[in-house]
Every structure is written in structure tokens, then in C-alpha cells.
Symmetry: C3
């Protein structure tokens, strides 16, 4: 009897600068996935809650929120890019394009922009990639770069050290036009009265009032996203070598925490949004485990016009995610997430 | 840097008799939400299980059960009415109207019927409200009153003490007509042989045979309903001040327990029902926590004709929910839920 | 007051050889159920992930995987056949027929093929049944036999000891024809490059690389399948008499473990499959509990032509499921599942 153990995923020495991965499977966003994700985070934007409202705004159907689009696209890249990662270091320039509705299918490809062995640890290094997600009609729905710290399989193996920017496809938020004949005002009671462009002031930080405790549900949610990384769902792997793994426990997949923080911020900065424009940079600064309660704040950094859309403005924010941790007899707030986030917000003048 | 902490929800002194809230967001019942809720309770009515059956009866598609309609409507009122509640005291006169199918959107408004400060506790009082839920075509799908005990923000604040009945909109169960040309009999094997109008006898109490253990799943389910009350999902809030909260633990949202008890009763009294007509009064008489196993009984109180529908009858029942609790070395049965429930049941003469 | 406690399910003495049960309810496979099940197991076949891909292959929509078809059909038989079972002993000759898509309704009937009291234990015996599941158009989608050890209600009751083969309906995998005009090759990057018919060699055993930890989610999943057996969801029942129940804990419904093992094997043997042809025999050789991490292997036993389909071949395999168990300071691998499984695999020559 021959025993076959297949290699899963790539190691640092397997990547080549300029290499393109067309990821397997793709994923159709069913009403089931939509429910599990858009709601488990308490997202409050009626575009993702109320089909009557979404259609009245000119969308085809309920709008799949940015956090779910990101998760569906990101997860498709895990097997090829980060199944053997030690840590996801940074999200860079994540931009959203065509609107995604229930029933749409997202397929993703990734270009290797750079490979860099660690100067001090022989067993690891950093891969820099750009991923692009398209829908079933070929329209770009998301584009992002990320840097990942990846293990080497053989510490002595040669690494294709290098960097090449490559050419990114265009990716800008596509929104239904503002149409004077639509009766937006008759729908205004369905979203918060105070989360418009005019209401947010640079220099202010909003402490979002709600928290959310994460349970072992994170395991099933990670599987529903097709994220195959074992550190999120294989307790036996952890138990055999607990000191190797952060906290000696199953770690919550970063995309799930990402999604929860977006949801916690939603009543204050997302409810009158037509979409997220860009996440310039972002990172997970600490681990999240089952049992943690998550909180978020949004710092308003600046405001600017939305090109060719007098009904909208762009608000530049920093979304921070926290969890409380015991320090002696007290609790302290530990930052676990940081995201520079530009949001397309409705102007009160045009919608109320 | 200015720190903004927004007030969430209203306190006793914020309510005015006669005031109307048009609640935010609304909610489309997706196939995902339907699956999570109609099935997690083991509902057994084929109208909510089998689309072929539902269509053969003249319904448009799978029927959203009363418990989910109630939960979707109720949860929309939480932020405005009961986010700062100490307890939901009573459901009153909950009636169902137009049939709800997957894809329908429910939006809710609430009128304040009464505000009454507590005579002995300065920091709280009772708000009496009537809520009405409509679908995307404006048809009423549910109407109910409830009384909620709400905290005051400032114990010294003046309260708009008073009561005014207001005018309730009409709300009666809308059902497909009985049609001799439909072959109901060929479908009769798909529901219980013994749960027809003729089978239920006043004076009898049915001990429903199944139980269901609640897990931490309740947190995600509550979020899927958009219920924003923090006592169901924010463990940190509880940990900081456990004596303030019942049991010192996250409490299961009452609507979830409500839904489970309806489900447990389904094989005996709900499987040959065309719908629930009215919940005259109801209350949660004890808390439910993760780990509890729930049971239910139905007491048959009376039977009457269904106006203009010789194929149907109305059975007046009391649905009681229980959980076992340790008392010394023994278990005792603690009542945690009480609901006066009128059910529209098929007559065996017309359907078998 | 009269207290009514209804009998639920049948006992050994209730079954008659030749008896036919047309099971209650039926079940429509909603997008919600599809999401919960096809994804929680990390199924990787793009036919069940990517609607663009499934349609390009000639399927109507996303394909409901065999494991979910099996679970939906099997669960419908539980109340009549195995609600009072001690153990499900064996699956026999499970075959798949018409393709099942989201929105299809499955209804099931079961014939009693044999009843056999135990020769040494007076309180139990074995029932041998054949179940057939059909869709809303009457097409057979699944057919299987199983042997179940069932309790007697009255150890002294007479049993209808006997066996009669009966006549099984035809059930063979129905697949879209291979069509030269379809551009299968442009889709080849969406599935594994190495799981084709040509890649699997008799004599090899593949150790599937991933594991999956089961949580209390199993309770809700079992309810979503309408499996009414109390040993999966009623903790109070167990607590009152823990020595009666295996492990003294809620046991994970076998169909859920079955589904997970199929999912774990998917990247290596299921990703380039057009369907499962037959499960000749199968059994649960050990219990699974919340907290267990599951693993799987596939032994390749033989290969053969697929009648009239030069683009396909059939691979005969044995799928084994394992969980690690502590033995002193070490872990040992305990087999908990065994399935003889014939898979219809694409030939590389025709699809890449």
C-alpha cells in the first residue's frame, strides 16, 4: 500500500515574481452565505437589509456589503498564497468596483509582486501579492494587495528574491446614478438620521456603542468562506504543538474579525453609505479567540468631494478594533485591528 | 481629539404618548434567514418545509412561520423602544395578517400608547406600545402591543405619564381560499395523521415529546434578527457588572425561546395548521441561558368555528415553555414562557 | 385535566415486512440549507461552489452535493424508522439519480424489507429498510437500504420476524451529456490540476491533509435537517441517565460526520467528480462528539469505465473517517466511519 500525502499550498521558495495564480473554484454568493455574514455582524445599512430600499436606490437587489465581498475574494487566495503563512502582515490599497448582489459569482486571480526572504530568520520571508476579483460578467468587483509572512518548506531552499510592480487593473466604485425622479426622501426614515456626510467632523473619534462576543461559530463561518487554513478549524493540530501557535488555541480568521468591526461601526458611519471606496492600508495587530468581545472606534481624518457626484462625499476614517483584556484586576483595551477606510457617504442635502 | 459616544435607544423620559416611530432599516426575509429560523426549532408544518405542498395549497412559496414573522417585526422595534429595557413584560393581542414568503420585506412602525413611571423605583417605568408590520406592498402582516419596563437615563427627569388607546389598523389572517378542485387529499400523508381540528379536545394538555438544548448559537441568531440589545451578545458588558444582569450571563433573547417553543409544539398542534390567528397575551416568566434544554406543553382551552371557512376551525390553546432546573438531587420543571394562542386548524373532513 | 403524551416513532414490534411508509413533510432545499451544509464541510467541487461553472457544464444551477441529498432524504425517514433506534448499523447500496439543485423538493418513502428480533437481547432487534427519494417531478434522486437496531417498547411483544426483498426502483446517476461545443478547458483552472481519473491509482491511500473540529453547531445543523432523534439535541435526556447513552453526551448525528468526511476528501478525489455513483456499504464504527477533530483517508481500490461516457471513469474507493483519541500520553487514530464509495471522475483527456 502506497500512502500519499499531498502538499497543500505553497511555501516561500515556491513563489516567483510575476507569477500569476488563477485561483480554484470561485464562489457564488448564495442567500445563505449572505445571511450568515451580512447579519452576524449587525450591519445596519438598509441597502443590505431591505430589498425594497435597495431597488428604490437603483440597485438590482440587496447589496452584498464590502466586508463580505472582501472575505469571499480573500478566502479564494488562501490555498495558493497563505495556507502556509505565519501571519498576514498588511492589506494595501483594497478598492471596490462593480456592485455585488446575491447570486453573483466571484472568481479571483493573484499576481506575485515581490518575494523577500527574512534577513534574520532563515525559515520564513514575505510575499507581496495583488489579487483581483471579477464577477461572472468579467467586471472587476475588488482589487487589493497584501503582504504575507510565509514559511519556507526547506530553510536552505533558494528564494526568488525581487519586486516588480506589475500593472493593476482599474477598480472604482460603480454606483447607480443619482436620479431626481427617485423619491429618496420617502425612504429617509429607514436609515439613521445623523450619519450623513455633513455629520462627520475631522478630529472626532466615534466610540461605537455596541460590542459583540465571538463564539466557536467562527469555525463554521470560516468554512463557509472556503478559507482552508487549518489554524482556524483544526484543534488537534493545535493540541499537538500548542506553543507553536499563538495563544495555543484556534485563532479566529482575520476576515471574520474584519467583518465584525465593519458591522460594529455601521450604525454611526456605514448606514448612510453607498459603499466603501478604499482601504488604503490595514492590519491585524492582535489575535482574536472564541470568547473575546469585540469593540470598535472610528476616527474621522478628513472629508473630500466625490468626483462627479454632488450628492456624495468621501470621508477618510481610521477604523480600529479592540478587545478588552484582563490586566491584574482591571480591564485594558487592546487594539487588534487598524484600517484606513474611505467611505462614500450620502449628503443630507440630497437624500432627506 | 473629540470623543463622541452616541446615545443608543430611548429612555423612559424620552417617550411621549401618541408618538409614532417609523423604525429603521426594515428587513427582507432571505432564504438564509428562513433556513436558520424556521428549521432550528424543528418546525414541522409542511407549508414551511415543502414548496410543492405550499404551492398546491395556493401559497406563493414556502410560508414564513408566525414565529419568524414575529421575530423579524419585533426586532426592528428594539433599538427605538427597548434597547434600554430592563424586561419585556407582556405581549398583547398579537395578530397575523397577509401571508409572508421568502423574499418579502417587512417594515414596522410603533405608536406609544402609554408611559407610566414606577411608583416605587424612581429609575424605571413601563412603556405600552403598539407595533404594526407591513410588507413591500403595504399589506399588514402583523400587529401587536407590548408592555416594556424601561430604565430612566436620569432618575429625576420628568415623564410624560399617560395612556391613549389610539386606533389600531385591521389585521386578520389572509389565507388562500379552500378550492374543491385542489387535490388536498393526495398531500395528506405529508402531515401528521392526528393533529386536525377534530383531534384536539378542550381539557386536554399535550406534553410535547421533544426537547431542545440551546447553545451559544443564540448570539448569532439574535444578530441575524438585527436585535441590537447588548444583554444577548456582549459578554464583556456582563463581566464588568455581573450582579446587575440576570444570572450574570448573556441571556437568550426572548424571541428565540418563543420560536423554539412554537417549534416544539409543532408536531402536535401546528402541523395541520394554516396559520396562527392571535396571541392574546404572552410573557417570559423566566430567563433562558445557553445550556438550557427547553420543553413545551399545549393546553387545549376551547374550540370554535372559523368565520366563513367550513374547512377550518380555531383552537384556543395555552402554550407553556419549561426548562428543568436542579433542586437538590432532583430536577424540577420551571415555567419560563406562557402564551395564549389561537390556531387555525384544518378539519379532517375537508383535507383527508 | 387529561395529560396526553404521544408516542413518537415506531418500535420493533410495530414494523411489518412489506409495510410502506410515505414519510411526512418532504423538504425543499433552500439556499440557506445549501449554504449551511455544502460549505460547512469545505466541499471543494466547483459544481457546488460556482454557478457560472455549473451552468457551463450543463447543470441548471449549483449542484447539491451527494452528502446533502443523502442527509435530506435520510432525515425524513428518522421519525418513522429510527427515532427509537439504538444504532444505525449499516448503509447498503446507496445510489444517486437525478441531479438536485437549490429549490428542488425531496420526498421519501420507505419499505420494510426485514424485521429480526435479537437472539440474545429481548429488548431489541434489527429492521432492514429500503428508502427512495423523489423530487417534485417524481424523478428518483436517491435510493438506499439501511439496517437499524431498534428498541422494543414491550420486550414481550410479538415481532413480525421475516425478510422480503421487494422490488427496487431504478436509480442511476443522471448527468448532462458531454458536449464538444462546450469550452470545458477554459474552466479547468477552477478545479484541482491533479484529481482526474488518470491520477488515481489502485493500491494507493490518500491521507487527506485537512482536519475539522466539530462544535456544538451540530445541534442546529441536525435540526436544520429535520432529524428529530433526541440523542442529538436534548441534553436533559442524557443528564437524567448518562450511563444509558454512549459517552454520556449528546452524540453527533452520523449524517453530519458522513458529510464532513466527504468534504475532507473533496480536494483529492471529489473536486473533478461529476457525482457519486454508489455507496455500496457504509457504517459508523465509532461515535463523534462536539470537540472532536475529524480526519479522513481514501483508499483507491479499482478503476473502471463509465458506461457510454468515454469522458468519464468510475473509481472505486474506501473513504475512512478518523478522530484522534488520547492513549496515555500519546494520540492514537480511531476509525469512526467506513464507506465503500464509487465516484464518477472526469478524464483529463476530455476536460483539460
Amino acid at each position: 500500500m502506497t500512502i500519499i500525502r499531498k502538499k497543500t499550498g505553497n511555501f516561500l521558495e515556491d513563489f516567483r515574481v510575476g507569477q500569476v495564480f488563477r485561483h480554484k473554484r470561485g464562489k457564488t454568493i448564495t442567500a445563505g452565505l449572505f445571511n450568515a455574514f451580512s447579519e452576524f455582524t449587525m450591519t445596519t445599512n438598509p441597502l443590505s437589509k431591505n430589498a425594497r430600499y435597495a431597488r428604490a436606490y437603483g440597485f438590482r437587489d440587496l447589496v452584498v456589503p464590502a466586508g463580505l465581498v472582501m472575505n469571499v475574494a480573500f478566502s479564494q487566495t488562501v490555498e495558493d498564497i497563505s495556507e502556509n503563512a505565519r501571519a498576514n502582515l498588511e492589506y494595501i490599497g483594497m478598492r471596490f468596483g462593480a456592485c455585488v448582489s446575491i447570486g453573483d459569482t466571484i472568481e479571483v486571480e493573484t499576481t506575485i509582486l515581490g518575494v523577500k526572504p527574512s534577513s534574520k530568520d532563515l525559515d520564513r520571508g514575505v510575499v507581496h501579492v495583488r489579487s483581483t476579483g471579477r464577477n461572472q460578467d468579467g467586471a472587476v468587483v475588488i482589487r487589493f494587495e497584501r503582504k504575507v509572512q510565509v514559511w519556507k518548506n526547506d530553510p536552505a531552499a533558494r528564494v526568488d528574491d525581487g519586486e516588480a510592480a506589475g500593472t493593476a487593473v482599474d477598480c472604482s466604485l460603480e454606483l447607480p446614478a443619482y436620479d431626481e425622479r427617485r423619491d429618496y426622501r420617502s425612504l429617509a426614515h429607514l436609515s439613521a438620521a445623523d450619519g450623513y456626510f455633513e455629520d462627520l467632523n475631522p478630529g472626532e473619534t466615534i466610540e461605537h456603542s455596541r460590542g459583540r462576543t465571538i463564539t466557536t461559530e467562527h469555525i463554521a463561518l470560516t468554512a463557509q468562506l472556503d478559507n482552508t487554513s487549518q489554524v482556524h478549524c483544526n484543534q488537534f493540530l493545535i493540541d499537538q504543538n500548542p506553543t507553536k501557535y499563538i495563544g495555543g488555541r484556534l485563532i479566529v480568521y482575520g476576515g471574520i474579525a474584519f467583518n465584525v468591526f465593519l458591522g460594529l461601526s455601521s450604525p454611526d458611519v456605514g448606514e448612510n453609505s453607498l459603499g466603501d471606496v478604499e482601504y488604503k492600508t490595514g492590519r491585524h495587530s492582535g489575535p482574536v479567540f472564541a470568547g473575546d468581545t469585540l469593540f470598535a472606534t472610528t476616527e474621522i481624518r478628513g472629508k473630500r468631494a466625490y468626483p462627479s457626484r454632488p450628492d456624495l462625499g468621501i470621508v477618510d476614517t481610521i477604523l480600529r478594533g479592540f478587545k478588552p483584556a484582563k490586566k491584574g484586576d482591571d480591564w485594558e483595551r487592546v487594539e487588534v485591528f487598524y484600517l484606513e477606510r474611505a467611505i462614500a457617504l450620502k449628503r443630507r442635502t440630497h437624500y432627506t
